[in-house]
Subunit: 223 residues, 2 copies
DNA sequence: CTGCTATCATACCAACCGGTATGGATACTA
DNA sequence: TAGTATCCATACCGGTTGGTATGATAGCAG
């Protein structure tokens, strides 16, 4: 949208120009600041003044790049959602060939990265907190993050009939949901200060569940 | 709920006195209104004026019962958390004797009630959304709601060694977490409009996982 | 009837909100 | 050098916020 011609031939002239020299463009400055402030405080508790201060920019500059507070919020959440995930899900196709044990380990490790990323935790918190006022954003999040991961795990279970899994989508949900809920109550709700449950224990229990009983499933008692 | 001493000897004197006759106390009126408004809008987006209007009460009356906006919020969230749960977990001890299939069904049904209760969904949303600004409230929620349910399921698995469950707490988390995460992305984030995953499918998959492979678990390959 | 307490209605406060206007400084373009 | 576009600083706008003050009205206990 905004011009990308980089400022190549300029050197720092005045103290003001110095600060204006390195950052890519004002828009990027604003976006970076908005991400920080919105993720920290949520939508309503974030003031445009604070975003402007954080960005080292005057308020009018923000409004020359974004129409609204709402549009700014929407823009940064969309960008954040899509960026964070496209980076995480691009090379996961070969995972299909892994053994179940290793596959679950890989899934667990992916979640480990998310659970220890403060920015992702904040995004999740804001997403849930504002999901009623910004349902379209929540939909983007579900599509980009949740369904994508679910589909991947579903596909894996579909291609591994030796696991005797009847409902691959439900199983994919159980796997992913175990980690998501772990993140929710341990990290976001601060439960790990009250009782720690290590991700590794959940991972191991899942592996035992899925791999350990494969042979016996489906043989006995149709509920 | 509202007052039982009937207003016997008085007839409607003024229009104001009429409205003051039946409700228990002003405080209950305020709390009820605050619950509604706070759960709908979150902390920052809730104005004391709106709470007062909703309660049919003047703003100063609120401040004669509660010191702060913050204290009012804290009070209603605490009350809501404790009330909602004490009601749900009082008679669950005999569940220990049920068969695994039936136990999981019962757990699933308990979650069904929560997932279809709009007030509980809102409470969860607000809880997550405000968990950074009100960490003590989040702790209360974890202790009262999450750990309680986890402990119950953990105890169940501990008393059922025939299931061959190595880590009962991790297993309890997987069960509960599957339902919590289902609620999160289906109901709260609105994902059910994009893809429906019925609670029954998750329940069935869990039962198959836990009961179906009990015999084979622990026999082979110590990872 | 006399206080006392609780609530009423209204008005007010300083602070902040999202958003705009003005007018000067800076930089690149030509 | 003149022009154009961006961003700066500041100040302003109407509206809303959390919270308070005042003074009237009602119910109740003595």
């Amino acid at each position: 949208m905004t011009g990308e011609l980089p400022t190549d031939s300029d050197s720092a002239k005045s103290a003001v120009a110095d600060r204006r020299a390195h950052p890519r463009s004002k828009r990027d400055q604003i976006v970076a600041a908005a991400i920080q402030v919105f993720l920290e405080n949520g939508y309503k508790a974030t003031s445009m003044n604070r975003v402007a201060d954080q960005a080292g920019v005057i308020k009018a500059t923000i409004y020359s790049h974004f129409k609204d507070k709402e549009q700014l919020f929407t823009a940064i959440i969309e960008e954040l959602t899509i960026k964070k995930i496209d980076l995480n899900y691009e090379d996961l196709e070969p995972l299909m060939l892994l053994s179940p044990d290793v596959f679950i380990d890989q899934v667990s490790n992916k979640f480990s990265v998310l659970m220890d990323d403060p920015e992702y935790l904040k995004l999740f918190r804001v997403m849930v907190g504002e999901s009623e006022r910004f349902p379209e954003l929540a939909s983007i999040y579900v599509k980009t993050v949740i369904l994508r991961g679910m589909d991947l795990a579903t596909a894996y279970f579909d291609r591994h009939p030796e696991l005797n899994i009847e409902d691959s989508a439900a199983m994919a949900h159980i796997c992913a949901g175990s980690f998501v809920s772990l993140m929710t109550w341990q990290q976001i709700l601060g439960g790990k200060k009250l009782r720690t449950l290590e991700r590794e224990r959940v991972t191991k229990a899942l592996k035992t569940l899925i791999c350990g009983g494969a042979k016996n499933r489906g043989k006995e008692h149709l509920s």
